[in-house]
Symmetry: C2
Subunit: 388 residues, 2 copies
């Protein structure tokens, strides 16, 4: 089995390149930037702002991994956002998560508002350790900042021959309930990962909203239309204009609402939006959209790990997973389908990772400029080539 | 807290009535049938076919409960279907489920092909008992026939102040993968239930296909159109004609395919179709759509129970659930919404139950005729009024 965890050795020798984006970036020669330098700049920014080096590395590596698998919305551009949140007291980079409510198969992690990645990784790691002994376990987290891309955590379970579940509420209401006309829920993502044998793991990993906010924001920045079914305007009407929801710089405005996934066809996606609020927020006792005082973008979470071999022989499970994937891949493709093949959840990510490990990652120019600006502000002697 | 488990005393004094359905039933005076008589007829049918009385009662009560909460597709009409399956050796009414792979927090139930309801209820009950000691538990089931409406089982957990999960694969391929053009997955349902305080429980309970097959079948019988997004025809084109998928009698034909829920808008529902196949089928070692030899409509399942009080104080959890529901109910309603209020998952069921406990249940005439015919065939001295 391949390892899909972030491999810093690989990235250390990987080249990054900046790419001109239509309309949003200046036309220029694209410099190639060594990944180790970029990583080091990110890590130095966070350590300079008070984070222990191990936390800074963990966070930056998680962000780079998101870029690698194709989710730039959750990638390296968050370095400057998190720096801003540290400055504003939202993230306490010196805090250390603490285990509470500990039983042999359950626990709560109090993140004490350190980086969400640190808390979430500790929660999933603890769930895996517990499930090794008790077959199934659940660990919740409270006082947790933005955790980034969920698949990075559930994959830790899959790599340990477990099924990993991660349910998250986001205390930032932008999604309307089914049939409603106000912002009630966050984008409330879910991820489930399970190993296969020869094939790469199954990885379900998405927001229970139609899309992540960031995709609407990106369309706004790029002056592109969006598909119907992503958002509605203030009057509840469908619209393909991202500016009915976002500001021109891509940040979330006061107008419009996201839909739960599949909400044009029925209530099922909406039921998962609520379920994430219950499992990620209310169950572990984390913040929720029902609270009057909220911490900016708090993520509550519940991580579940389930030891496959207690249910069925591990090799049989993996072989049958391979057979399932083969069955899916052998399905004839609808000629009108936008892709050339029927995919298993996760393949998008594995294909991107393979491609980007050799071809590099497109860092949007504004994100790059912001990182450089911040490094200069902190008097960090960046060895990175200037793009100006 | 109210009890939502099936209360046979209530139903014993409840009246049933037959209702004329447009086009499908003969015009006639509608007789009112005492529920205890109808229940007794169903139970007698199953005992006459070899089932122990306790199993017969359990199954019939589960079917009646499905009618009560408004899911007639999973209701009393299954009496004759199960009788047919007993005659064909699909259901072994004398078999008793057996616990295997037993650990303190996990187990597999081998149903030995008895009624699926017996196996599924035992699985959820065992999960609840285990979770009382170990905080979280998971019980799978194999060799399990059709289990009916999932919400009946997850509600057992909610009534025990737990979160109950039930994930099921159905080995009857009718659903196409996202972008594919062949029948690969079953309708693979999921249910999650969680208690509230003053409010009735949260109950997510649905197929991961666009709809249950039965709804397409019902439309075919009633010669009604169906919404776009439920099925595609053989060429993969959207259609509102249920006969592109079903036969005129409502049974599944050889043509067309169901979609995963929300599939017109994206892949997310499809990911849950696969997830149910993995968790319900492959994980416990039950039958799967990948197997060459299959048992008709086998249901594989995974039941998870999670003890709320190990994570947060139970009363706090329930109060916050009430607040969440109030928040949802207070959302303004989109004027174009088909209902007058924004609902919490489960309300459809609780409202129906309240209404039908007093007003009775509409038993479709064909289902009623079939039950009477079967009773006569088995020389059961039915006290039920004839509707002829």
């Amino acid at each position: 089995m391949h390892s899909y965890a972030f491999d810093s050795e690989v990235v250390r020798y990987m080249d990054w390149r900046l790419k001109e984006k239509s309309g949003t970036v200046r036309n220029q020669t694209v410099p190639r930037i060594p990944a180790n330098e970029l990583r080091e700049t990110g890590v130095t920014i966070f350590t300079r702002l008070g984070a222990p080096r191990e936390y800074a590395e963990l966070v930056v590596d998680m962000l780079i991994e998101a870029n690698l698998v194709g989710h730039d919305s959750h990638g390296i551009r968050y370095v400057t956002r998190y720096a801003e949140r540290i400055k504003n007291g939202i993230i306490d980079p010196t805090a250390r998560p603490e285990v509470t409510n500990d039983t042999s198969s359950t626990a709560i992690i109090d993140g004490h508002w350190t980086f969400g990645q640190v808390t979430a990784k500790k929660a999933m790691r603890l769930a895996i350790e517990k499930a090794k002994k008790t077959s199934i376990s659940a660990v919740g987290a409270i006082h947790c900042n933005h955790i980034g891309r969920l698949g990075a955590y559930t994959m830790l379970a899959a790599e340990s021959d477990m099924v990993g579940f991660l349910m998250v509420n986001v205390v930032h209401p932008v999604v309307q309930p089914f049939g409603g006309a106000s912002r009630v829920f966050g984008t409330n993502p879910i991820s489930v990962a399970a190993p296969a044998g020869e094939e790469k793991p199954f990885l379900l990993d998405f927001a229970t909203s139609s899309v992540a906010e960031g995709k609407v924001g990106l369309a706004a920045m790029n002056k592109e239309k969006i598909p119907l079914g992503w958002i509605v305007d203030n009057d509840g009407h469908e619209t393909d204009d991202p500016l009915d929801f976002c500001l021109q710089n891509g940040s979330v405005g006061e107008n419009g609402r996201l839909l739960s996934f599949g909400a044009r066809e029925g209530h099922k996606g909406y039921c998962f939006s609520i379920l994430m609020e219950i499992l990620g927020g209310i169950l572990p006792g984390a913040g929720s959209i029902i609270d009057e005082e909220v911490h900016l973008n708090e993520n509550g979470l519940l991580a579940i790990a389930l030891d496959i071999k207690r249910f069925t022989a591990l090799q049989r499970f993996k072989k049958r997973m391979d057979s399932l994937f083969k069955k899916i891949h052998s399905a004839p493709v609808n000629p009108e389908f936008q892709y050339s093949d029927v995919q298993v959840p996760g393949e998008y990510e594995w294909r991107n990772r393979e491609k980007r490990l050799t071809g590099g990652i497109d860092v949007p120019q504004p994100a790059w400029d912001e990182i450089q600006h911040l490094a200069a502000e902190l008097n960090i002697n960046s060895k990175l080539p200037s793009t100006r």
